[in-house]
Amino acid sequence: MSAVAVHLDGLTRRFGELIALDELDLDVAPGELVALLGPSGCGKTTALRLLAGFDYPDGGRVKVGGVDITDVPASKRDMGMVFQAYSLFPNMDARTNVEFGLRMRKQPSPERRARAEQVLGLVGLSAHAGHYPHQLSGGQQQRVALARALAIEPSVLLLDEPLSALDARVRAQLRGEIRSVQQRLGITTLFVTHDQAEALSIADRVGVMHEGKLEQIGTPEEVYERPATPFVAEFVGTMNRVAGRLAADGRLEVLGASLKASGPQSRAAGELVEVLVRPEALEAVADPNGHATVAERTFLGSFTRMRVTLDDGSELLIDAASRRGLPEPGVRVSVRATGEDALVSGSAHGLTPAAP
């Protein structure tokens, strides 16, 4: 199958007063996996359902492979959809579930069967072809659902939080498998999730959505390291809000370091601003003359997270690679920014510049 591009053009959907989707533009390249990430109610599922044809937009067009399919009913769209959970037909065994789409396409039985065996093999469930959904674990059910979606050789694969009902270990494993199957088949895929770690790890590009709008779309690295807006910064990963002062050359004085400022630039030099800094871009060093105290230290495996209280009462989260000799709770420390740049989020209301 040759991969096709998906093009959403000014898609709008209202539910009464609520604008679920506000003129969404999105391009997905052929064979690309784009993850739509956002909190619940941000419009990501609405976008997916409009693309699948389960819902009809109030405005805008949907194009797949250059063809406008806005008015094509869902049953004729040729898309493979995997739902959050429980979407397998309970009255059919795994193989019959997988065959369903081909049956609707009036494929002869032997071909159907062969294809079903093949896709079930692809998701590693050949041995479970005769099992009914209630005999399968949650992870197995989602694999069958994936096989069922792939069986019809869809032009586009749509995944609606397919992992959110699974427990952590299965989730991570299945995430990897979905990605490898998707890459092997080179199928254009839209993946909707509210889990930022999931989106970052699986996608070619991540689109962060907020209140019906796409806040930022870019590679996982871009979205994580150079968030375009404060919302993206705080939704993806953990952020500290600290006060900083803008310098004349577009640089930023934060916690005793001089960083490159990004974000809204329409501010005068010398202005006090709120700056967003990742926990791993901060460092706490034991220092009897420091202006902060370690309040709590949590060992999280490869890294250790410290909660540090500054003398002005504000708190910071600081991540450090786990090693011996990290400051214990109660120890006085000095805090320093170690990154190269930082995002200015707004005026520093109620923040005082922290001493280094």
Binding site: P73, Y86, F89
Partner: protein, 303 residues
Amino acid sequence: MGSVAVLEQSLPEDPAARRRRGIPRGAWVGIVPFTLYVLVFLGGPLYEVIYGAFTTTGGSLTWHNFSQTFSQPEYRSAFEESLKISVVTSLLGGFFGVWLACAVVTAGPRSPLRRIVGSGAGVLAYFAGVPLAFAFIATLGRYGEATTLLGHVGIDLGASGFDISSLTGVELAYVYFQVPLMVLLITPALEGLRPEWREAATGLGASTFGYIRHVAAPVLAPAILGGLLLLFGNAFAAYATSYALVGIYVNLVPGWIQQLISGNVLVDENGIGLALGVEMIVVIAVVMVAYGLLQRRATRWLR
């Protein structure tokens, strides 16, 4: 009206129950009062029925009572009528009940329509009995509102041969509680149909008909069949409505039982009434066992 339909929702078995092996020593004492009560107050009358059906007045074992129920035309006719009315009203009730339930379920679980139909169905399905009969007499009886209304437009209900105090009237009244009963029985199964199934089917290329044929109908089939069985048993055991509508001389098995044991026929035919009672129990027990088997199938899918 029978209480057959209480099996409405079957309770899924507690999975923890299977894991815990053995019964704690002495714990069975806790269910002794309950068991004794059932043994005395259910077992007592039941014993009288069975004992009386199989013995002569002198106390010797006999098959006579049963052979009478099979050979005497009046009893056979009553059995046929009872079976007929049960089949007809359960099919009608089942058909309209499923249809109505579909309309109500689509209105959403917390809609006022749902609450009103739900509780209304509860009243009519379980507790209508005598009041239902009088409502029908007030509607279609000789001086009923509908009869009068139809008289005004030139339709003489009485002359057309319709009589609310007849088996036709009883049938009509039974449908009146069979439909709501089916609504109560089938609603949980309809609610168990997940929207994802429909969307998945549509996304895979199925039309609405294709979805119904391949997914919805097979998934609902055990529940609908089970519901029909309960409706059958319910109509078969029902008596209050027909008693209030027609009286004890109604040509249905319960009517004959009451006539026979009240001594309204001939002396010493008590045993025949009890034999009819045993036969009723057998019919309903068979229906219930079939229902139980179907229910296991229905709930297997809808977990």
